[in-house]
Each structure stands twice: as structure tokens, then as C-alpha cells.
Amino acid sequence: MELTAILFYLFSILTVGAAAVMVFSRNIVHSAFALMFALVGVASLYVLLYADFLAATQLLVYVGGILILILFGVMLTTQGHNLNFKSVSVNLIPASILSVTAAGLLIFAFTTTAWAFIEPVERSETVYELGMLLMGDYILPFIIVGVLLLIAIIGAILMSTRLATTSDTTSSDLTE
């Protein structure tokens, strides 16, 4: 077997296995770490598809996101194993119907599509082309996304400072 094929199966098993652990684990922090492994596996699959920029973005965005998720998990379960944060299953029947339908659709799409195979000759300069596209054809969406993120950041800062100032005024009121 070829080295690339071995790596592909290795990372596929990692992704699927970690995803299964994430779904079935009863411990919320274990689930978060399993989600991290699943996302790292997906990033490795992107590398095998010559999409290295996408892979690095996947690592940077999602692994950073998982970090915040785990911090919330740790804050909720500060007692560690003494106090297990049990996750319970609700809405079992509608969820299973929905997931079986989604799985059926995906399998149907996978089997009926005529997949076009393109063997890339060599690594292309994806970053350069991406930059040209973002600064050329897609400049408007790019700027809109930037402004949207800026508004979200300003909103978050405003909310956190407002909480701090109100607590300050109440404490000063009390002293007066």
C-alpha cells in the first residue's frame, strides 16, 4: 500500500473514532478533547487533498475555539471527577429520525454522484490565488465580514465594561 493511502486511513480512523468518543462520552471535557482530535483529523485530510491553507485555518480557528469550549467545560466542572457533569439524552425519537434521514440522504448523494477525479500535478500556490481573489473579486464580502467581526468585538467589550461600571457605581453608592 502507498504511504499516502496508509496516512489517509490512519487519519480517517482518528477522525471517525474521535467523533464517536465525542458523541458517546458522558464527560463534557472528554467530549471537548475528542472533538479536538476529530477536527485535527479533518485538517490532516485537507493536507492530503493539497488544501494546506484550509488545513492551517482549520487548526487555527477550530482548535482555538475548542480551547474556549474546554475552558467553559472546566469552569462548569471545577470539581473534576468528584462531581461528574452528566450529559443526558433528550428528544431521542425525533433526533434519531432526523439523523437517519440525513445519513440516508448523504449516502444517496455519495452513491449517485458522478465523482470527477482530478490528479493535481504539483502543489499550486493556493495562498497567492486566495489573496488575489479576496482583494479583487470578493473585496465587498471580505470587507463586510471584517466590519461584522469588528461590531461583534466592540459589542462584547461594551457588554463586559458596562457590567464592570454598574458594579462600581453600586459599590460607590453604598459607601456614600
Binding site: A56, L71, V74, H81, T126
Partner: protein, 343 residues
């Protein structure tokens, strides 16, 4: 390098494996040397001699310590999360080792010359924080957890000035590939004798280097920013429950991280493997020598700072980052871009 390995080994796979293992050998030798050097630097700063018994000026002390660590019992706390506790040291080492893939050690060797070099490096090192949190949480110990939380807060904050200062270099260099960034810094043309290193090319890049160096001190948990493992408050932070070789791997990863960030600084600001004397002492082997020399100089400065300065408090640490470094790095970024536009 890879063609040469393919010629002397029977299969391509074997050549690839050897190619990937070269930095590992380097890191192991470097870690043995750096731990000895740290103890010597510490001793001389404090007017002592440091290890003197094992070999000439105690050079083999680290080897003896490593043999001792290998024989120690591997203790796992009863209430620890066993799999994550065992796995965390390996993940932390994998995260810092994987980043070495894009470092150009000399003109003849780079692990993988991908076009997204620096971006990949910054992305893969975000796994470091996660593995620290993993170790901290899995230990099920209040000191570990506090250390891990501090580490996460510190890394998330100091990532911003690091990325901004790296980005200002990338604006000048115009490439994310570290090999290309190094190649454009060769030659001695500034003021007639100075090498074409990026730090001499633009006055604002000097400011960027100061911001970068402070941020990498914080990112590699060195004094004055070693709050995740501050021994006077948290015993040993996230490493509290670790013993034996698993603790040794944490140490190894910490020193590897120092080297990685120093080498990144060398590539971005000090011309990578370029000789400071133009074509004198040039070529792949000398390139490797110059690269490691510059890297070790930065590592030495980190050690020097560690044994000279006291530790900051948590609130001071956050204030330095959010009130000084982040605004400064953004202003500096705009100034560098303007300088590049005008000149």
C-alpha cells in the same frame, strides 16, 4: 537533502522518515546542552559555579539526570483522568516538534517548503495551549488546574501581539514561506557593510522585534511571565502531578518550544542561515552553524532574563499585553506598511 537520502536508502518511505527525524536528533542534543547551559547561566548570575562534578565543568550532568529520570516510578494519581493524563506530555511535544517542519535550518535543509510556512507554524502551536490544559485538567489537582487556566489566558492574549509582529515582517518580506524570507535577506548592502537582515531594513521592524521577543517570552512560559508554573504559588503549575520520564518530556517540550520561537525570530529578523559577513563562511554547513549560533544567542538572552528579573503578577501580565503590546503592535504595523509604501 531529500534527493540525497533517496539515493542512499533503499526506499522512498525510509528516506522520508529519516528526513523527518533530523530535527528530532537536533532537539535531543540541544535539550541536553540547553539544560546544562541554563544551570550554568543561573549559577554564574548568582555568583556560584553550578554543576562541576560530572565531566569537564559538569557537561555530562544532564545525561546523568536523564538516566535517573528514566528509572523513576511513573506515578498516576488515582482520581486522574488516566488516558488524558498519559497522553498530554506526548501531545505537547508533538505540537512543538511539528512546527519545526517549516524552519529552514540551512540552505540545504527544510522539513517542508510549503507556501503557508509561518501561518502553519502559528496554527500548529495553538495545540500547545490545549495540551497544557489537557495535562492540567487530567491531573485533577487545584494547582494544576490554576496553572492551566493561567496558561490559557496568557497564550490567548499574547498570541495577538505575536501574530501582529510576525505579520509586519511578512508585509516587508512578501512571502509566508520561511525559506523565501531567508533567501531575500542575503547580501551586505545596508550602509555599505551591514547585512540585509530585515531588522536593519526598516526602523519600525526594530520595534516589531521588541514586541515579538516579549511575546515569545510569554508564549514559552519564561520568567518574567512564567505564571503557569510559578513555583512560589502553584508548586509547579500544570506539571505538579507528573513524575519520571513524563515530566522529562514536559521539560523537553519546554526547551524545544524556546528553541522553536528563537529560531523563528532568527528567520524573521536576523537573516536565518545567512552569514553576517556576506559570502565569507557561506554554504549549507556554515549556514546551519550560523543559524544555530543566532538561535542559541536568543535562547541565552531568554535564560539571562530568567535569572535577572522577578516575576510579574497576573494583572500586570494582562495589562502589559492589552494596554501596551497590542496597541503598540497595531500602530507599528501601520507605520511599517506606510514605510514600505513610501520607500
Amino acid at each position: 537533502m531529500i534527493e540525497f537520502l533517496e539515493n542512499i536508502t533503499p526506499s522512498t518511505t525510509m528516506a522520508l522518515v529519516i528526513h523527518a527525524m533530523i530535527p528530532l536528533g537536533l532537539i535531543l542534543v540541544y535539550a541536553l546542552f540547553a539544560i546544562w547551559m541554563e544551570r550554568k547561566v543561573a549559577a554564574h548570575v548568582q555568583d556560584r559555579l553550578g554543576p562541576m562534578r560530572v565531566g569537564w565543568h559538569g557537561w555530562a550532568q544532564t545525561i546523568a539526570d536523564m538516566l535517573k529520570l528514566l528509572q523513576k516510578e511513573d506515578i498516576i494519581p488515582t482520581d486522574a483522568s488516566r488516558f488524558l493524563f498519559r497522553f498530554a506530555p506526548f501531545l505537547i511535544f508533538v505540537a512543538s516538534y511539528a512546527a519545526f517542519a517549516v524552519i529552514p535550518f540551512s540552505s540545504g535543509y527544510i522539513g517542508s517548503s510549503i507556501n503557508i510556512g509561518v501561518f502553519y507554524l502559528l496554527a500548529i502551536t495553538s495545540l500547545l495551549t490545549l495540551s497544557v490544559i489537557m495535562a492540567a485538567w487530567a491531573s485533577n489537582n487545584k494547582w494544576s488546574l490554576l496553572g492551566g487556566m493561567r496558561s490559557a489566558a496568557q497564550m490567548v492574549s499574547y498570541e495577538v501581539p505575536t501574530i501582529m509582529s510576525v505579520l509586519s515582517v511578512i508585509v516587508v518580506a512578501g512571502s509566508l514561506n520561511l525559506m523565501t524570507v531567508t533567501e531575500m535577506q542575503s547580501g551586505n548592502e545596508i550602509l555599505g557593510f551591514l547585512p540585509n537582515w530585515l531588522i536593519f531594513q526598516n526602523p519600525f521592524l526594530l520595534v516589531a522585534f521588541v514586541i515579538f521577543f516579549v511575546s515569545i517570552l510569554a508564549e514559552s512560559h519564561r520568567v518574567p511571565f512564567d505564571l503557569p508554573e510559578s513555583e512560589s504559588e502553584l508548586v509547579a503549575g500544570y506539571q505538579t502531578e507528573y513524575s519520571g520520564m513524563r515530566w522529562g518530556i514536559f521539560m523537553l517540550a519546554e526547551y524545544a518550544d524556546m528553541l522553536l520561537l528563537s529560531l523563528l525570530g532568527v528567520v524573521l529578523f536576523f537573516g536565518g542561515w545567512n552569514s553576517p559577513f556576506g559570502t565569507f563562511m557561506d554554504g549549507p554547513v556554515w549556514g546551519f552553524f550560523w543559524f544555530m549560533l543566532k538561535g542559541m544567542l536568543l535562547v541565552f538572552v531568554m535564560m539571562w532574563i530568567r535569572w535577572t528579573l522577578p516575576r510579574y503578577r497576573v494583572d500586570q501580565l494582562m495589562r502589559i499585553c492589552w494596554n501596551i503590546l497590542i496597541p503598540a503592535s497595531f500602530v507599528n504595523f501601520v507605520l511599517i506598511a506606510l514605510w514600505e509604501m513610501i520607500f
